[in-house]
């Protein structure tokens, strides 16, 4: 009877331990991150926010690897990082496109004033994000 009670207790502890250490595979977060990366590519982040996009891609690869190794907590965190970095790349690319468009329109409306305001616009604009 005593032995049974001890076995029952040990079993309960073991089950609690397994419950704590087992996480679900973060498949949805991973597919969301993939979508965010595609959106970033479509927003021309390859040209306009290359560092953020590269970071996001690396995190996605690392997340897939962690999934294969059944390290689901690591995979989730890496996928969430990839997701937010891809989102940042998109936001930076869109901001840069809007800024360049505004520069072009300003220049067309008033070339002289535009040149005085922004003497560096005669030089080729850097393609990488500046933040």
């Amino acid at each position: 009877m005593r032995f049974q009670a001890i076995s029952l207790l040990l079993g309960a502890f073991a089950l609690t331990g397994i419950g704590c250490s087992t996480a679900q595979p973060p498949t949805r977060i991973l597919s969301d991150a993939e979508l965010n990366l595609r959106a970033a590519s479509e927003a021309r982040a390859d040209d306009l926010a290359p560092m953020d996009l590269q970071g996001a891609r690396e995190k996605l690869v690392a997340s897939r690897k962690a999934m294969q190794e059944n390290k689901y907590e690591d995979a989730r965190r890496l996928a969430e990082n990839a997701q937010v970095e891809a989102e940042l790349a998109t936001a930076k690319a869109e901001a840069e496109i809007a800024r360049r468009t505004a520069d072009i329109v300003r220049h067309r409306l008033d070339p002289q004033r535009s040149d005085n305001e922004r003497p560096s616009t005669s030089q080729p604009a850097p393609t990488a994000n500046k933040e």
Binding site: R77, E80, V84, E85, A91, K92, A98, V105, E131
Partner: protein
Amino acid sequence: MQPHSIRDSASLASIFWFTAIFLAIFLMAGCATEVNNPALERARESYTHARQDRDLVARAGVALERARLTLEQAERVWTADKDVVEVEHLAYLAEKRVEIARAVARRRLAVEELQRMGTR
């Protein structure tokens, strides 16, 4: 003999209670002292700084709200579990969300300028 032993036990009891109260105060002070997490503090500072920028709040309020929610989640995990890995992860996400808000605000600013030029 009897009064002497009563006095002894009374002084023992007072020493016991004094020690107990002292320990309780000491332990409570220990619990109340906030242990800092540098990543969380950095994220908090980044968010607070962004929040003080009126233009940023006006142009990227929703993006900034997302940063706040992530920051709050990090604060909750830190208070409840002191899970350093998870808190650092959430703090990183919160900082990135503040950066997203800044980029959104820059885009809106450029769009507003385009609209102004279009109506000239």
